[in-house]
Subunit: 450 residues, 2 copies
């Protein structure tokens, strides 16, 4: 169930970093003259820094027919610039014992390095250079397209869970580009060109569309001075308007998707509900969804796990998640994996009964308290990880949250009431705004759901 | 079941006009110097002509987020021009006892008048004028938006069949803009502006993107001379490139959609399969789909009707259709309406058994012959209707077919073999490329399919 594991991990990561412990660092937030935002999270425990740059552009900003372009460009960003040709940047990171990576999502594209503190400015200079200096030749673009296609093979084409997730997103979003896979539809990836990548780069890679997050052994003033000496010298090269995407119509009808693959040995049923994101939610609503998802399906003590796995013994696993870091929509999800001899229908019916019960009767005071303690504790633990902390701030700011929202997240969790959780369940566990996915071995037989 | 009736009527219309009877008219096809195509179908039985102009632009050409724009512009085209302000064009048609109308689809937008033959050139002059002379003020645009929203209410929002069809299309097409409703998503219609309409108009309403079809009491030479004197004087005002839309990924997973509405008194199950259109099909394939749909569900003698309604007595109606007039994809559909006391599951299982039988064993020689006779006879009868004939040519040319393909359609039907029908069934009755829609009174109870 690698996809679900990824989603659960993502939840924990999302919940992390915002905890306001006693020892919480003071987060500084600047905007340079060219529009680039800088967030600094001091952390002096070790002489290292995590340096990330987040561009406010992702798969949901692609032109229809060019899906996968944001992710393809992320790969191509490692092909060198006029000033630093080839892999000189990566070699420099490796030479100082650093780590680097990059990632693409629907709303953002990010690059990061973790290096000894004295190399921060050097990293900034490299990133500032490749914000405008990228050089792409057909000789490097074509082989990289094959790398991306191979990644698509691994993550989706040869991964039944990945394929089901792709189909469920496409069915959940009837109009919004979150319905497109971040990696792209394979037949569209195949047609992406050097010109497509460069046009996208020139349109979106500009200081007024970027957020730099530095977490580590540096003061806000030092980081700001370094940023001004490097990023500050890059002129904005494109006007960036508001990010407006086609939105969903009123959700009218529950959907299902059945993915059959001969490699499936463990069937599963999962469901996505369209929900607000932290950015679009009313005050308190996304925190209530965090608590709801935790009570429903966060760990062995959750309603779903206890009911389906422990009490009824019909499932080998069951859970829930809420992913709320997004510009336009969040997602609430539940899933269950039947024990051998049990059907997806039985498991789905049991999940529905748990959801109905919470919508009708709400959660107990004990459940509420335990969820809060656990969610806040997880966030505090996650602060220990510099990269996690930086990532939380970057993802939040790239999707319309503020530094204050991240910082105050534990307070929001503390303020959640049982009534708010029941209201969230009643509002957002709405079958009309849902898609249910069945992962099965074959379409014939009792597992057929078409 | 008005939506399905519309679809069935559409099939008959689509099948019409192409018959090559002994008395078949010689169809003439010209291209004027400015790129405008002219098709003339002489019909001298009465002193009238049907004059249509088809623009090769429809809902599938809209920018995401602006759905409904093609249809909204169709309405606004009746608001007058500099030369013919207000409703002067419509008044002129009425004054001579003519009829007029307009229509929008995913691939085209059309306008037509049926008038006494001596007024043909006048109609051409009016249409040529409004190809470039449209005048729109906010005073006319805003009220017309309300008219369109009211039309959406009637056709979709207050029509459970219409809502289900909208949701099924959105679920069938994961990436292609055929998944958007032609009338638009309501929340996007509400935001359409005068500027949106004018920009769309200037981009797509140009002689090099138009097809004029004249059917009636006129010779090709007369019609051509009239067209050159009117349309021929309009300079192309936009370059029209190839029509490229985002295409579907490989279809992976059967989908379902359940639309519940308290007004539903007669539940139904229907299924759409993605199929080739006449334009995209391999030679012979779309004719085989015509025959397949007819044998499966064309009338009381069809497999589905006989099995479900007559023999098993579990349904009050059942049928099938193929709609093949489209630039990118056609659609094969089946449906059944359970008798009181029977469930959608029973009806769906019976439909599946009929489809499986045809895929496995094919159709009989007798079924093949009867389908051919009936399809060709329908087409010959349809030739009697001048507007139907004109519409068939216009729709075909606007979606990439040729005059020859329309003319030779009866021959294509005659050439279909039982093997070709079975091959079409095996290839295109593919659950992975299908969506099944359930229309129910409520989501609870035995009719729940989520």
């Amino acid at each position: 169930m690698s996809r679900m594991l990824v989603l659960i991990v993502a939840l924990v990561v999302t919940a992390a970093g915002g905890a306001r412990a006693a020892a919480e660092p003071e987060v500084a937030h600047f905007t340079l003259g060219n529009g680039l935002e800088l967030v600094v999270v001091p952390d002096h425990r070790a002489p290292v820094v995590t340096h990330m740059i987040w561009y406010k552009v992702g798969a949901a900003d692609e032109t229809p027919g060019k899906s996968g372009l944001a992710h393809f460009l992320e790969h191509l960003m490692f092909k060198g610039t006029r000033q630093n040709p080839g892999d000189r940047f990566s070699q420099a990171v490796a030479a100082i014992g650093g780590q680097e990576n990059a990632f693409t999502a629907s709303d953002y594209t990010g690059f990061f390095q973790r290096v000894p503190r004295e190399h921060l400015k050097e990293m900034m200079a490299f990133e500032a250079d490749r914000m405008t200096g990228l050089v792409l030749s057909d000789e490097v673009v074509r082989p990289e397209l094959n790398v991306v296609l191979e990644e698509q093979n691994m993550r989706v084409a040869n991964n039944p869970n990945g394929r089901l997730g792709e189909q469920m997103d496409a069915a959940l979003y009837l109009n919004h580009p979150y319905g497109r896979p971040v990696i792209g539809w394979r037949h569209e990836i195949e047609t992406l060109s050097r010109d497509d990548a460069l046009a996208f780069y020139r349109r979106f890679y500009t200081p007024n569309n970027a957020i730099v997050v530095v977490a580590g052994d540096v003061t806000p003033e030092e980081a700001k001075a370094d940023a001004e000496d490097t990023y500050g010298k890059v002129a904005p090269r494109a006007a960036i308007g508001p990010r407006r995407r086609p939105m969903e119509p009123v959700e009218e009808a529950p959907r299902t998707v059945t993915l059959a693959d001969a490699r499936v040995e463990q069937p599963s049923v999962s469901r996505y509900y369209l929900a607000p994101s932290r950015t679009t939610a009313k005050p308190g609503e996304s925190a209530a969804l965090d608590v709801l998802a935790h009570v429903l399906g966060g760990g062995d003590n959750s309603r779903l796990y206890r009911t389906l796995v422990v009490d009824q013994g019909i499932a080998i696993n069951a859970g829930a998640f809420y992913s709320g870091t997004a510009l336009d929509y969040g997602k609430l999800g539940v899933y269950g994996l039947p024990k051998p001899g049990r059907t997806l229908h039985e498991v789905e019916a049991a999940i529905d009964a748990v959801l109905d019960d919470v919508s009708e009767h709400g959660i107990t005071a004990d459940e509420l308290d335990r969820a809060k303690v656990r969610l806040i504790a997880d966030a505090v633990y996650a602060q220990d990880n510099q990269a996690t902390l930086a990532r939380r701030y970057g993802a939040a700011l790239a999707t319309g949250e503020t530094v204050e929202m991240v910082r105050d997240w534990p307070q929001s969790i503390r303020a959640v009431t049982a009534d708010a959780v029941r209201a969230a369940a009643r509002t957002w566990l709405n079958p009309r705004a849902s898609v249910t996915g069945y992962l099965v071995h074959s379409l014939k037989g009792e597992e057929k759901h078409s």
